[in-house]
């Protein structure tokens, strides 16, 4: 038996304190003047003895509590020997099945080596096979015989996720806890540095765990890879579509490689690219001649000549569609605003929108079929048929943009929207009297890229009462709404409380105008901004939390359903685990294609440093609580400090009860004659 903090034992001198309290202090007698000692007797000796006897239990409890507390702080321990025969260990074969193990037959080599462990597996010392990538999981249950163990090893399949040694360590900790056995872990991996977690503490292994690393990759591996591709998510003009790719050389010399752009298996273009040593080069393809709809594109590194062809292809999804039709209605006198809007949308998303302009005076019943959204420039009083047609269009899911100007401000209500107009305030440009945006909803899709809109000068702002249903997205310092979103039926209306003719404000010439209009157009036409590329394990948004009623179906690269029925009904996101193209079909008829690529960190075969590996191994060595001697006999250090603290707690409670009994338990004696007399009188 020993003590981890023996200097605390010096505090045992404090045990004298209760002794002093009990034995010395009680000899003190307080002199008290009393009227007569006629009825008193000397009780010094007997009373002290009685008291001493009476308080023995209390003294013992106090002394014991104090000594136990000191003992607990001194951290006593003793070593418990566990016979070698009982020191059974569990064999764990951890096989890395991350994307990098797709290199050649690396995974097969790893499994082959792991099969060698089967001889160690028995009923007394079972074995477990763990496959790990971004996540780690056991293959089957623990194997009690070699054949089962071999089957489990053979069942490890290649994956496309990235390596995570932290996840492996977490699972190993869980195994040690679940099976209550020390582990002999054999890790078959390529020791990629990119698999290290940000915090070393996440690599902590369970106590008394032996870990042996079996490196299944050569020391130096050269690799060229298509690191990233930036395609347009949606193309409208095939001739102008651009695809940019980044090619990286990882531990590889300078080389010239051929890079191809492929769409639906057809090579559209091939370009040479000079890649510097251990550097990166980019290549850009212009023109993507495809038909309408979704297409499966890829950028391919031809004849890379490296050891890992798996990362020579980078997939992307692309959609070709016609420009979205936008109906722009304006008054006959307003010829400027349409110009600003067209220029802005063309600059933001070339050819994405086809804007048709028409004057209110000549449009009584417009054709709103296939119109993505309608824009009204200072509508004023609309012809009833036109207003009714627009109302009907919005109610059925259409979208409307209203820029309110002087004509609209003169009306009591906004046309179509119906929101009340309180007044229209016009400021003078010459006097520099203007209003500006003081507050906005920065997270709203329409406003999220409108940095600098605060410096736009609004000379005319129509004071609109947003009511209860509409939401103010931007407002001036005196709380006058500038941008309002109003839901109506299944559709939505965006209202700008100022015109777009560069007279009521300088917004059309302000840098914030283009992103505002781009985001507004995207929001109104219900398009989602997406490049159609995600990495393995990343989440793909299936639906907004509010759209739970819409069913979603995901087809994996093999054409099979990737979601369970419950997930299809409720899941808001989905994390694909293999490379390929995933088709997402939503209940409202909308579909999209997502290209999933392996994390390109898997392409970097930079190895973990030997020091790091040694440190990782050291985390599993027996700590201060466990040691193994030369004969394999294990000694376990046991410290009862926790039980000692519990005993102190119990003694403290008991002491409190006993002390209160001693001090107050004697209670009052029989009532005095005076008390009896007063009772009788009463």
């Amino acid at each position: 038996m020993g003590f981890l903090s023996p200097w605390f034992l010096g505090a045992a001198a404090l045990a004298g304190l209760p002794v002093w309290l009990h034995l010395l202090r009680q000899h003190k007698t307080t002199p008290v003047h009393f009227s007569s000692l006629m009825f008193f007797e000397k009780r010094t000796t007997t009373s002290t003895r009685q008291r001493r006897l009476r308080y023995y239990a209390l003294l013992a409890m106090r002394l014991l509590a104090l000594l136990l507390l000191i003992l607990a702080f001194a951290r006593p321990y003793w070593e418990r020997k566990i016979a070698a025969g009982s020191g059974k260990r569990m064999t764990v074969a951890a096989i890395d099945n991350s994307f990098s193990l797709r290199r050649g037959n690396a995974l097969d080599a790893a499994k082959e080596q792991a099969l060698g462990l089967a001889g160690k597996v028995s009923g007394a010392e079972p074995g477990i096979v763990v496959a790990f990538g971004a996540s780690a999981h056991e293959i089957g249950q623990k194997a009690d015989d070699a054949a089962t163990f071999r089957n489990h090893v053979q069942a490890v399949a290649a994956g496309d996720s990235r390596t995570s040694y932290a996840e492996l360590s977490r699972v190993l900790r869980g195994l040690a806890e679940a099976h209550r056995m020390p582990l002999d872990v054999h890790v078959y991996t390529d020791l990629q540095r990119s698999g290290m977690p940000a915090r070393f503490a996440d690599l902590q292994l369970p106590a008394d765990t032996k870990i042996e690393i079996h490196d299944v990759a050569p020391k130096e591996l050269t690799n060229y890879t298509v690191e990233a591709v930036t395609p347009p998510g949606r193309i409208f003009d095939t001739a102008k579509a651009r695809v940019r790719a980044t090619i990286a050389a990882l531990h590889a010399p300078k080389a010239t490689k051929q890079v191809s752009l492929v769409a639906d298996g057809k090579v559209l273009a091939t370009k040479p690219v000079d890649i510097p040593e251990n550097g990166r080069a980019s290549v850009e393809f212009t023109g993507l001649d495809t038909g309408y709809g979704f297409h499966r594109g890829e950028v391919r590194l031809e004849n890379a000549g490296d050891t890992f062809p798996g990362d020579d292809v980078f997939r992307f999804a692309i959609e070709r569609s016609d420009p979205r039709k936008v109906l722009y209605l304006h008054s006959g006198r307003d010829s400027r605003s349409a110009l600003y809007v067209k220029a802005a949308l063309d600059a933001a998303v070339p050819n994405a929108y086809a804007i048709e302009t028409a004057a209110y005076e000549t449009t009584s019943s417009p054709n709103l079929n296939n119109v993505s959204f309608v824009m009204l420039a200072d509508p004023g009083t609309l012809p009833p048929s036109l207003e009714n047609a627009l109302k009907d269009y919005v109610q059925k899911g259409g979208a409307l943009w209203i820029a309110a100007g002087g004509f609209t401000g003169a009306l009591p209500k906004l046309p179509v929207s119906g929101l009340a107009v309180k007044e229209s305030r016009m400021a003078s440009r010459s006097r520099e009297m203007f209003q500006s945006v003081a507050a906005k909803e920065p997270l709203h899709p329409v406003m999220e890229r409108t940095a600098g809109i605060e410096s736009v000068k609004f000379y005319q702002v129509v004071a609109i009462d947003p009511g209860a249903s509409a939401k103010v997205l931007a407002k001036t310092a005196d709380a006058a709404p500038v941008v309002i979103e109003q839901p109506m039926g299944e559709g939505r209306i965006l209202i700008l409380a100022s015109p777009l003719d560069n007279l009521g404000n300088n917004l059309p010439l302000h840098p914030a105008f283009v992103p505002l209009l781009e985001r507004a157009a995207q929001y109104l036409s219900r398009q989602q901004e997406s490049t159609g590329i995600v990495a393995v394990g990343e989440g793909v948004e299936l639906r907004a939390a509010s759209d739970r009623a819409i069913g979603v179906e995901v087809l994996d690269p093999r054409g099979e359903r990737a979601l369970t029925l419950e997930q299809a009904a409720k899941a808001t996101s989905f994390a694909p685990q293999t490379e390929g193209y995933y088709e997402i079909r939503r209940g409202n008829g909308r579909a999209s294609l997502v290209a999933v690529n392996a994390d390109r960190r898997e392409s970097d075969f930079t190895r973990m440093e030997d020091e790091t590996v040694a440190l990782w191994k050291a985390t599993g060595e027996p700590g201060e609580t466990q040691r193994v001697n030369a004969s394999g006999e294990r000694t376990e250090t046991v410290s009862p400090w926790w039980w000692l603290l519990l005993a102190v707690l119990g003694l403290t409670v008991a002491e409190g009860v006993a002390a209160s009994q001693y001090l107050y338990g004697s209670g009052e004696g029989a009532p005095s004659p005076a008390e009896l007399a007063s009772k009788e009188a009463a």
Partner: protein
């Protein structure tokens, strides 16, 4: 008047003993007026023929004018007109565990009784004693008697130890032939047998004797936090004792002492009453009135 003026703690804040007595008695009497049972005044008792030697002051001259016969007007109060207060002023009476000492309480009581007697035109006097007679005011109803009595009571300070023999011998030798009411106010730290034997002869002479036993609450039910060294206030004797003894054995002894005193007093025809100094004075006054009414 509010009954709280009978509370000894309230009375302790009044420095003038006469005022204390008036406060107590007036408050007590005004309280009694609600109950006709305790009515108390110079009540007319009867007429009797004048005999030679009767005091001419009590002849009803109006009757004599109408009937030419001399009648003496008798009042109930006349039948018992001597009150002698025996106030123990020994050192033990100085004890107190709170704001009122036993001697203070005894003085309030004695002063109140004296004031009450003065109101009834009774002759009142006082003997202040410890082991000697320290002060003696002969009972009388003359003018200035009340002041003298009050002065004697007010000047009573705790002296030495108690000895009943001397003062009672003095009392017996000088007043044995005159009937009256004797009130003994003491803590009676003496053997009950001795106390009763000393006082009992008064009763044989036709006196009514009332014993007011004054004790402090701490003397009745002492509480000590730990072992104490007790010092006798009369003898200076020191004695170490334990709280357990005080809580158990002492209580038995003091209870036995009180019970013995009471029993022997009743046997001897004396009226005994125990008072602790934390209790109001009304019960003591009520006791006195009952005795006096019994004599009327």
């Amino acid at each position: 008047m509010d009954q709280r003026f009978l509370d000894p703690h309230v009375l302790a804040s009044i420095s003038n003993l006469e005022l204390v007595a008036k406060t107590v008695v007036d408050g007590f009497i005004s309280g009694l007026h609600r109950s006709p049972k305790f009515g108390f005044s110079q009540e007319f008792a009867e007429y009797r023929m004048y005999n030679e030697g009767d005091d001419l002051r009590f002849v009803d001259w109006n009757v004599f004018a109408r009937t030419e016969r001399a009648y003496i007007k008798r009042f109930k109060g006349e039948t018992n007109s001597r009150l002698t207060l025996l106030l123990d002023a020994s050192a033990s009476m100085a004890y107190s565990s709170h704001s009122v000492t036993k001697i203070d309480y005894a003085k309030y009581l004695a002063a109140s009784l004296a004031y009450m007697a003065h109101q009834q035109r009774d002759a009142a006097g006082v003997i202040v004693f410890d082991d000697e007679v320290r002060e003696y005011v002969t009972p009388s109803s003359r003018a200035g008697q009340f002041r003298r009595t009050m002065f004697a009571i007010e000047n009573a300070t705790p002296g030495r130890r108690t000895d009943f023999a001397k003062p009672f011998f003095h009392f017996l030798s000088t007043l044995r032939n005159r009937r009256g009411l004797a009130v003994v106010v003491s803590d009676f730290y003496e053997d009950p047998e001795t106390v009763i034997k000393t006082i009992e002869p008064l009763r044989f002479r036709g006196n009514d004797v009332v014993l007011f036993h004054i004790l402090d609450p701490q003397e009745v039910r002492p509480k000590f936090d730990g072992p104490v060294l007790l010092i006798d206030s009369e003898t200076g004797q020191e004695l170490e004792t334990s709280p357990e003894y005080a809580a158990q054995e002492y209580r038995g002894k003091i209870d036995a002492h009180v019970a013995a005193l009471k029993q022997k007093a009743q046997t001897a025809g004396l009226t005994y009453h125990l008072h602790t100094t934390d209790k109001p004075l009304d019960s003591a006054l009520r006791e006195f009135l009952l005795v006096r009414q019994g004599r009327a």
